[in-house]
Amino acid sequence: MNPTLRTALRGATLPALVLGAWWAVFHFGWTDTKLFVPPSEVWDTAVRLTANGYLWTSLQASLGRFLAGFVIGAVTGTAVGTALGLSRLFEKVVAPSLHTVKQVSLLAWIPLISVWFGLGDPAKIAFLSLAAFFPVALNTFEGIRSVPRELIEVARVFAFSRTQLLRRVVLPAALPSIFTGIYLGLLYAWLATLGAEYLLTSGSGIGNLLTDGREHFWMDQVLLGVVIVGLVGFVINLVATRLEARSLAWRGKSTAQF
């Protein structure tokens, strides 16, 4: 048997067994707790909620906040990260404070933010921006700092102006790190979206869909929510890695330097 096929089959064994057991439990009526819900019901719920628009509204609300918060956080993060990278003085004055504030687990900020920004979207978006800000700022800073001195010397030999140096050497060289920061920023912002929706329950969103299902003991809705959360995470991952591969194609496979 073709080895790739064999590997794929092996990998599918466990999920298949789990799905099969799940279906069997329900089909043979081995349990009757409300918690146990057949796979088919999850699918039905998905169809139903799509039909009445609830699914779409929740998804839209969550993604809208997610993007808004991420963009604000990423833009501020890039700006601050660049300033930190380019100015040693700025770094020395501001970086220690940033590192300290970063230590606080993200979600701990929500209650404070809810006092300052209320319980609605502004608070959530503020929180999301914070979540995206730190990884973007720190990775941008790191990327700019790690531009190899050797390449900067080449720019000096060819009499580059400061703008040319930044645009044509520092920025491209820092781009891989900046991408890492953006990727992490996306992930944290998505986590933060969920967290914010759990804690600040006004409005709609995937987090609210999940909380709703939980409070009513609707297992099918909760399972659906879990699947959606996973899917969104997967799509983010996919989009980010594709973008990165395309823009950074010049890296190639070798680890050879300059």
Partner: protein
């Protein structure tokens, strides 16, 4: 043809501060390089030869003495002076053509004339057809050739080479040495090569400057009056090479160990067969 520059180095002193103590790196270096000349500088590590190049290219300053190009003091870096480093230092995000073109970023001229110059130099180093390749796709030797093209593309008056082939394997090195010589003759510029490979220095240089370390000083300058292109196998070549090598204290100087031939008695031949 590029205009070949005259380089004058007069009484150059350079020192660094290490832990508060001054560390002299170059001491009273004086060198006159004629236009179009190829000068090789050899020395072991620590003799300051790389520092010398970095001072001439303008990456380092803060020295005592004078460095003059065509009679004018050099100030910082300039497109008049080009350099090839030991690492190729190509920008990994640009292809070959754009890497060479980046040398012309601040050079005068139209887009068309620049594009023409870029293509000419890519052809000059023998990389025609590789214009759209990226550095990660090139071998070490090819990358270094791109670096040479980039250094030459704005026709500097002086080309500095800091152990350009040190990171390459011996076969590629030999090949590129011949290439470099051909390029130098075609462009007609002044060239200064720093190397620790004595054979390379003798092969390429009109003169070989021997430096000694701690602090860096010129020990001796050896002429290489051999016709180009040189044959490494000739006795003359070997003799000059040995002469230079002798400066590094490995082989005893012939003058010291030559003994007068002993007179041979007939009896010695008796048992020779």
């Amino acid at each position: 043809m590029a205009h070949a520059g005259t380089l004058e180095i007069r009484n150059l002193h350079k020192q660094y501060q290490v832990k508060g103590e001054p560390l002299p790196v170059l001491q009273d270096i004086s060198l006159s390089i004629r236009p179009g000349e190829f000068v090789s500088i050899v020395g072991t590590s620590g003799c300051g030869k790389s520092t010398l190049l970095r001072l001439v290219i303008g990456l380092e300053a803060d020295y005592k003495g004078e460095i003059l190009l065509d009679g004018k003091r050099i100030v910082g870096t300039s497109l008049d002076r080009g350099i090839v480093f030991q690492e190729h230092r190509l920008f990994p995000w640009l292809d070959v053509r754009h890497n060479v073109a980046i040398g012309l970023l601040n050079a005068p001229g139209t887009e068309a004339s620049k594009a023409k110059a870029v293509q000419e130099h890519i052809d000059l180093v023998g990389l025609k057809g590789f214009e759209t390749a990226y550095p990660h796709q090139l071998s070490g030797g090819m990358s270094q050739r791109v670096a040479i093209a980039r250094a030459l593309v704005n026709r500097p008056e002086v080309l500095l080479l800091d152990e350009p082939f040190g990171a390459l394997d011996a076969l590629t090195r030999g090949h590129l040495q011949a290439e470099l010589e051909r390029i130098w003759r075609t462009e007609g510029i002044t060239a200064i090569l720093v190397t620790h490979d004595v054979e390379e220095a003798v092969y390429l240089g009109d003169r070989v400057v021997v430096m000694q370390p701690r602090p860096g000083r010129i020990k001796r300058i050896v002429d290489v009056p051999l016709p180009r292109t040189r044959d490494r196998g000739t006795a003359k070549f070997a003799a000059i090479k040995d002469d230079v090598l002798g400066e590094f204290g490995e082989a005893p100087r012939p003058a010291l160990v030559s003994l007068p031939p002993a007179p041979r008695a007939l009896a010695d031949w008796h048992f020779a067969w």
